[in-house]
């Protein structure tokens, strides 16, 4: 950890009280993001990626709640702020981009109205200043004829163009961190790369850090500085992207990487590892990955592994703990 991190998540636990007991969707996660850094987050569907993002931006939907842990933005705790204070942070300090651009925009307002409203919520700009800024932003995200398009309604834009508008909205008051939750999953394959490239370029230009949640290891390899691999609400492995891809340490990551051929060949999606991730109601004792792991030892069924540092990577696997002990 060099310098002061922008965001720090310490031992975060997110729970859903249900009739059949408490479900732990995010279980003791710790991570940090440095200013301007892109942290990729990968993992199968249901691994807890979206819940982690929602907890950070303070938008967990009840009955979901942060049961334990701390979230710090520039050293200041934000997980326990009153609603109104957290609201001022959303959009202003931490922005978000969601999966489906077709449903992220309010159909009844023009994109200009939505941009102006967001800008004016967080700044003292007059309406005409905010409108000028809105047009600038639309140009910046690559929408042709922005002076004209600013008056158009979401249904008048294609999916890719709408996601550009969403990016403009998320970046419109220059937040320090963007949580992009599968920003291209709902898009046509042919425009996914464009959108990722745009997001990457804008965040670099503005110095915005990104937590990029995706299924696409190819995108991670190209875009992220570091990557966190999540499994059943826990972090399996987190480290510099090159190291995790070229020299994965957790058996789950090894399985994932076996599935990406090379970046320019195919879409690099996570393919099958034998078996399925356990349901939240049936997470096994010990290491959550043990039913699917080919390298299990007794200990893997008894005790849950902690994250241990191996080179620049932190990994939660007893095999590496053992290595450490031997060293």
């Amino acid at each position: 950890m060099a310098g002061n991190p922008l965001l720090e998540v310490r031992n975060l636990r997110v729970e859903f009280p249900t009739r059949r007991g408490i479900l732990t969707a995010v279980d003791d996660i710790s991570l940090h993001i440095d200013p301007g850094e892109v942290l990729g987050v990968v993992g199968e569907s249901g691994a807890g990626k979206s819940m982690t993002g929602a907890a950070i931006i303070g938008l967990l939907e009840p009955p979901g709640r942060i049961a334990d842990g701390e979230i710090l933005l520039e050293g200041r705790r934000i997980d326990n702020l009153p609603y109104e204070q957290m609201r001022r942070i959303r959009g202003r300090e931490i922005g978000a981009i969601f999966q489906d651009p077709l449903t992220s925009l309010n159909p009844l307002y023009s994109v200009g109205e939505q941009l102006v409203e967001t800008i004016q919520t967080h700044t003292d700009m007059s309406h005409s200043q905010a409108l000028a800024r809105a047009i600038e932003l639309l140009a910046e995200v690559g929408i042709p004829a922005p002076e004209r398009r600013v008056e158009h309604y979401p249904h008048q834009f294609s999916g890719g163009m709408r996601q550009r508008v969403v990016i403009a909205l998320a970046l419109c008051v220059n937040p320090k961190l963007i949580i992009a939750d599968e920003p291209t999953t709902a898009l046509d394959v042919s425009i996914q790369a464009q959108i990722i490239a745009l997001l990457k370029r804008l965040c670099r230009e503005h110095g915005t850090a990104v937590m990029l949640v995706t299924h696409d290891m190819g995108v991670i390899a190209e875009t992220a500085d570091r990557v966190a691999v999540m499994y059943a609400g826990r972090i399996a492995e987190i480290g510099p992207v090159r190291q995790v891809i070229q020299n994965p340490k957790h058996p789950y990551t090894v399985g994932l990487m076996g599935s990406i051929p090379s970046i320019d060949q195919g879409d690099g999606r996570l393919t099958q590892i034998e078996g399925a991730m356990p349901r939240l109601t049936a997470i096994p004792q010990g290491c959550a990955f043990n039913p699917r792991c080919t390298l299990t030892m007794d200990r893997c069924f008894r005790e849950r592994p902690d994250l241990v540092q191996v080179e620049e990577t932190r990994v939660s696997c007893w095999h590496h703990d053992k290595e450490l002990a031997h060293a």
Partner: protein, 329 residues
């Protein structure tokens, strides 16, 4: 926009045409108008003469054409029972019904929408539960019972409000309004509440259900993620998206309020069209029944037209012409 309105207008005319056909059929096939108009001592020749004079011996098409032509100029013939032009009688009665209907519609909207928003936003709140339970009662009690209960409490026991009639009315160029005098307004309170209570509960439940639906959408989540204030999210973004169904239902309900005013008018002896219609049925006074049918159909059609135009104002996705002009991309 213009093409859209013209298209809807044509549809409205078609609907009105069929309603007119129905009303006309009523004339032809229910009872014998001549029989209704004359006494027992009238001779057969005199009856035949009257038939010719009334045009009842003309071909049906001609008769129907005349009926439509007359109805279009608001001439619905002479009431059998009262021997007065029906249009005159309607002109006297209509203000009472329209004022009652509009006020009760306003009442149900102005109270129902805020209650719906409140119960949608505070689902677990005590007040929400009170509203929801009360609305169940409102839905299940028959209108006349509510009316009678109100009369019993506020007119009989407390003596605060009159139990029947319109109070004091003021003539405004032929439109006799009860909205300008205290007595008139006091007389309006109970009938308006009775008539509007059902719609109020309906609108409240509709707004609540729509709010719950809209609050789950991605664009609301994204609006929150952009740090918009609660007020902007709940009212600017969520409530506005519930408007289309609310407008639809309100429009339909306004039509049925006017139609169902019959019961309320009976309970409160409100001198409106509904009361007149009921008496007409008892006396098989076909001209009044036909006129009433056509007037009600006209209100339904007109309200529908307004509703369609409101959609157009509220929802940009319906402004097809505009999006075509600018293209996609």
């Amino acid at each position: 926009m213009l093409a859209f309105i013209i298209r809807r207008m044509i549809q409205s005319v078609v609907v009105m045409f069929f309603v007119a056909l129905l009303a006309f059929a009523m004339f032809r096939f229910v009872g014998d108008p001549v029989h209704q108009m004359v006494g027992i001592e009238t001779s057969l020749e005199e009856r035949e003469e009257l038939r010719v004079k009334l045009g009842l011996r003309d071909p049906i098409i001609v008769q129907f054409g005349r009926f439509v032509g007359n109805a279009a100029t608001l001439d619905f013939g002479i009431s059998y029972q009262h021997q007065r032009p029906v249009s005159e009688m309607i002109k006297e009665r209509m203000p009472a019904t329209l004022e009652l209907s509009l006020i009760s519609a306003l009442f149900s909207l102005l109270v129902g929408v805020p209650m719906g928003v409140y119960t949608g936003l505070h689902r677990q709140g005590v007040l929400s539960k009170v509203f929801m339970t009360a609305s169940l009662i409102g839905i299940s009690l028959p209108t006349f019972l509510i009316g009678i209960l109100l009369i019993y409490v506020f007119a009989v026991i407390l003596g605060w409000l009159p139990s029947f009639g319109r109070g004091v009315v003021v003539d405004l160029g032929g439109w006799r309004t009860g909205l300008l005098t205290t007595e008139g307004l006091k007389a309006l309170i109970m009938p308006a509440i009775t008539l509007g209570l059902f719609q109020l509960t309906l609108i409240m439940r509709l707004v609540r259900a729509e709010m719950l639906e809209v609050l789950r959408t991605d664009y609301i989540k994204f609006a929150r993620a952009r740090g918009l204030t609660n007020r902007a999210v709940n009212f600017g973004h969520a409530l506005k998206n519930t408007l289309v169904p609310v407008i639809t239902i309100t429009g339909l309900q306004l039509g049925s309020i006017i139609a169902f005013a019959i019961i309320t008018e009976t309970v409160f002896q409100w001198p409106g069209m509904g009361l007149m219609f009921l008496q007409a049925i008892q006396n098989v006074d076909i001209p009044i029944m036909a006129a009433y049918l056509i007037m009600i159909a006209f209100f339904f059609v007109a309200i529908n037209l307004v509703v369609d135009m409101l959609y157009y104002v509220v929802d940009p996705r319906l402004r097809v012409d505009a999006s075509k002009a600018h293209g996609h991309g």
